[in-house]
Symmetry: C2
């Protein structure tokens, strides 16, 4: 991982924590607990890789950071809502997230459902706000693409597959589709958003989509590898959950070595998709490498 990339990713995370704090004010109204939970979930940290991808993709087209940072915040908020709901007792039933108690453990289940619901609405509210881009068409397109990525044919559809598909039915092709919906769709949106904000030519937009597609899959395969090989203290969440649940993953289907090779190939392929961009895209190239080399 390049020094420059590590610095840029850390700076993005710091920037996002400040920006997200602005979008999530503390209140002293009777619904205060809801807002505390929204804040707790969103400001708990995380790599902020999605935010990084939005900002770096937008930078390729010289989009003002005033705009791209807002889209990055909206995406992190959408991602956060999905984590809060995925952790619920009726979903993955997780007690720990990013090293601290999950929202339903810290507050309760009711607040976790409501905080997730309100975070989803807030994400769209930020995108649609005039401050996000002067063009109404651009704002509406961002909403449209994120809604598709997050909805029943995207993230929520993928989570449904993940929970309800019989494990024995899972082939590599099925799990690839599942993961493209569950985690890939939001990552693809991250890069496409930069192109939308920058009125990019179709070919460049497609290149960024293709890059994000491969990066997203490499990211997920690496998650599966880390579930087997990772250190739970370092990762801030339980590991070997999938193994213990006898769950089909890229590792269980391909084996550890082939999974690593597959992730590396996808990472390299992601980099290749950026050939139309000059050195301005180097941080995105680094991100594709980081995705498979990270240890948490």
């Amino acid at each position: 991982m390049s020094e420059e990339f590590a610095t840029a990713l850390r700076q993005t995370a710091e920037l996002m924590n400040r920006e997200l704090g602005e979008f999530l004010p503390e209140t002293d109204s009777p619904e205060q607990m809801l807002h505390s939970a929204m804040r707790y979930a969103t400001l708990a940290g995380g790599k902020r890789l999605r935010a990084f991808l939005v900002i770096q993709s937008a930078d390729l087209f010289n989009v003002s950071r005033d705009y791209s940072v807002r889209v990055a915040a909206a995406l992190e908020i959408m991602h956060t809502y999905s984590l809060v709901h995925d952790d619920l007792p009726c979903m993955d039933d997780d007690d720990l997230r990013r090293g601290i108690p999950t929202v339903h453990k810290k507050f309760d289940e009711t607040i976790a459902v409501l905080a997730g619901d309100a975070l989803q609405a807030l994400s769209f509210e930020i995108l649609a706000d005039q401050k996000t881009h002067p063009s109404g068409s651009v704002r509406a397109e961002l909403v449209s693409k994120l809604a598709q990525a997050a909805g029943g044919h995207g993230m929520v559809g993928g989570q449904t597959m993940d929970i309800y598909t019989e494990q024995s039915d899972l082939a590599v092709s099925t799990i690839t589709r599942l993961q493209q919906m569950k985690t890939g769709a939001l990552i693809t949106f991250a890069c496409e958003a930069g192109a939308i904000l920058g009125h990019a030519a179709p070919a460049k937009r497609m290149a960024l989509r293709a890059y994000a597609h491969d990066l997203g899959l490499a990211f997920q395969i690496t998650d599966d590898i880390l579930d087997v090989e990772g250190d739970s203290d370092q990762m801030g969440k339980a590991t070997r959950k999938d193994v213990d649940a006898d769950k089909a993953t890229f590792v269980s289907l391909l084996g550890l070595e082939k999974a690593k090779i597959h992730a590396d190939m996808l990472s390299q392929q992601a980099v290749n998709h950026l050939s139309a961009f000059n050195t301005n895209a180097d941080l995105l190239r680094d991100a594709a490498v980081f995705t498979v080399k990270r240890n948490k």
Copy 2:
């Protein structure tokens, strides 16, 4: 209730059921259960009063039905998601809705959370789609207003207050604020959406907001009255729930007679707000009367 209004409301309900069916296709993919649940919840009927308000408000400004019906559908879908989540065991724990089992009873709790999540995303997806209005600014404004109405300072905030505020703390002023957030915000959006679609002058937009505000409150007070006086078979849901739960409502705070007087006054006030409109607004005037005269 005027014959004309009864016909118009019934026609709106029939129209919406057809339109909503188009937005909610059945699938045979592995995530099929999610889509079935979304369809089940959305097509279960209901008065479609919110849809009616969107369409009638938009008609005042000669907005094409091609646009207003889509906004009406988006709003009904948002409303449906809120019902699905409100019925969850960790919320109001209801078994029956519109005369049939609630989503978590018919399917399960996991699917109910996911279907609600996907319905929320779908609502914004419909609004942001180019087919909803040629102007990107109009589409973005619709998203922005609906997100505010549905989020942590609107509907979800109101639901939080409803669940967590100590019943003994509830004064009429508190319950009015709670209901304006929980149910009023979406009703206000319904009427404001018509004004947004029609590029209405600010005074007319404000008049419609004021109308919707009073109608929404009258609607809620009538709900509280029906909880005491209504027939559960006719209403398709359990009655006397609030009484049995010793819950503060407009009826428990004001008494039955004063609550009825208050609802009637608000209904009349709503009608008065429409004085700037000619007979084209008669169906909206009828809606304000219907709101307090209905028996379900």
